[in-house]
Amino acid sequence: MPASPRSPGIVAGRLDAAALAERFSDISPKLDAHEALVAADRCYFCHDAPCMEACPTSIDIPLFIRQIATGTPEAAARTILDQNILGGMCARVCPTETLCEEVCVRETAEGKPVEIGRLQRYATDTLMDAGVHPFSRAEATGKRLAVVGAGPAGLSCAHRLAMHGHDVVVFDAREKPGGLNEFGIASYKSVDGFAQREIDWLLQIGGIEIHGGQTLGDAITLDGLMAEFDAVFLGMGLAGVNSLGVEGDDRGNVTDAVDFIADLRQTEDLTGLPVGRHVVVIGGGMTAIDAAVQSRLLGAESVTLVYRRSQERMAASVWEQDLATSKGVTIIHNAMPLRVIGNGAVREMEFEYTRDGAGGLEPTGETFRLPADQVFRAIGQKLEGAPDGLTLEGGKIAVTGAGRTSLAMVWAGGDCASGGDDLTVTAVAEGRDAAEDIHAKLMEA
């Protein structure tokens, strides 16, 4: 008998291939030409536009929308990519509802913003589908640069450096480049291998080599890179995951949400990917939402997301929360994990309700249990194996200005660096800005 959502334990194939294909299809498909024109017509071409201010990469949104409206989406793409070389991915994964679209004057006016994210995707997809890479390299400078991490920050930095005529070698711990774009984004936001297609497209600039399987502190060292290259950019993200710090955290089937999401992204045949009947996700950010939603989509009978603080404090946007609940995820706020119960593997999780007290979050003494075959930790990631000599700040590499670290000729950006919002788009901006700073520094001499 085939598995079903009610099959006990952790099993694969709770849903058939057709159902899974439908559930994991593109959550927000590319607008067609007509839809794009209608959407573009709603833009008021604001002065000093709020959307542009809200964009971490400062894309000239009114200009690119006007370019779409006037029948030149390729020019629109150029406007986007000038500021954000991963504009295609950002169009898919940016929480636009808390960035550009939140401040759109038509949100103010009618509660319905211009669909900036979808228009951005229309423009960038149009250009990329045509196979056009609109940038070329400046005259070779003879400088060689090392980038650690082939995620959004590293790729953005590498592209900008290559554009300025430098040669760039990108090192990544994984064999496959992309970082969180490839391993950390919910599948339905990046279908059809988009992350790899975007990287292939980005690399058309030339002058960028990517070396996989190169973990910093293992195959490569910062000292070694500093000796070999003219400058180094660190953008390796956060490899470590915070533990729950409760009794039973080490029981079976209590795992990191990021690993589940990465496995899911790398799985060709989702009918072979096991998921629990009762899944509990601990956390309140995007990773928690992505793990919870995808567990439901895979066929888990019940998925409960438990966050220790109030709803207002959740890092995941309201849009993301609504997405989760619309897919059948139950969200419980103000409850913290007490212990993992089970004989070997998890069977139940016990929580205690919380409230905001004078000294911060405090337990109420009221507890409850949830059945759980599978528990995902999603309470944040941490920097692991930071090279010696780098000053840290709040557990991350301390940076000033455009990603300058405490070491000369070493820059850092993305999630591993201090500051920022841990968003793809922020990482892209930091990589780009560091590249400009590196370029300026190198050309000083």
Binding site: V38, C46, H47, A49, V105
Partner: protein, 433 residues
Amino acid sequence: MADLRTEFVGVKSPNPFWLASAPPTDKEYNVRRAFEAGWGGVVWKTLGLDPHVVNVNGPRYGAVWGADRRLLGLNNIELITDRPLETNLREIKAVKRDWPDRAMIVSLMVPCDEESWKFILPLVEETGADAVELNFGCPHGMSERGMGSAVGQVPEYIEMVTRWCKANTRMPVFVKLTPNITDIRHPARAAKAGGADAVSLINTINSITSVNLDLFAPEPTIDGKGSHGGYCGPAVKPIALNMVGEIARDPETAGLPISGIGGITTWRDAAEFIALGAGSVQVCTAAMTYGFKVVQEMISGLNQWMDDKGHADMDAICGRAVPNISDWQYLNLNYVAKAKINQDLCISCGRCFAACEDTSHQAIAMNPGRVFEVKDDECVACNLCVNVCPVEGCITMEPMTPGETDPRTGKVVEKDYANWTTHPNNPMAKAAE
């Protein structure tokens, strides 16, 4: 409920909304549908002599669009009816017989000789039509053959042909004017001199709506070539309103009945034409864009507005705005207004700021938090901010009260009227006195 019944030069209709002479009124089928939808009358598409004309077999229309592809302007290169005269006459008679309460006006265009007019007028009379409208307006195709606007551009011809028609029919004669002239008053005066019972205006405006950038040819394009067409639709309304107003206030033509035409799309447009002196209005592009049902909004809207304002019937509104059309030189220079931004309605798009800062008087401040405020000491009340603001009613022009000091000029706002004719900067001021 206001009384929308209209009597225009003796032609009665249940409302002032007529379909203009154009494709919507080319056939019995269309006109019956129009009457079923509620139109008060039609001007049947222009009849000519047999053999009937032919049309191009490629595209006839070109367009200009606004946001969301809203059709703002339409141009056409279609000619007068391309069906036999007898067919049209038979259909006109049949429709008029079945719809006796609706206005049935027949548009005519025949060569510029009296015989042609003497020939066709009795045939039309025999259909039972209420009036004829002389098409001196079409600017394309027929004008190359000495008809349409070729007549309408020469006041002497207008007068001559009008006189022929008045002499050869008992039906009221309307003269449809072309806007492709320098001063609309001259053809209107000529029509009146020839004995016209009314003028209808405007006909379409010479236009090329667009150029195909692959073919480098005007659109609509026929086998790689394009010809100018006649432009109509919402975009031409301001031009039409001005021409209607000019005729209404010209002492030589004052009182000459006017059937207003040009971009009428809503009840409000129609009311504006009527206020400027139109006794009936004619619509084409709105019907061609949205279908005949659009008249139902026009009827309900005009009704509601008239009821709200206490206007009992058409006479209560017709021409009411005419006395308020003035020459620039008589506008009150002591009237001072200032723009005012309603912060509750403002959505902070900043278009007013961009417009004022870049192209006007630097009279809007962009304050922290995207708060836009008018600088009264710079504002000349030009109204550009009002016009570019996407939120209706957000920016208004507030008149200053006499006795207040205008912070821009430092002068006290006078309560007395004063215009350019007496202004000290006017070199002609003395001569004018």
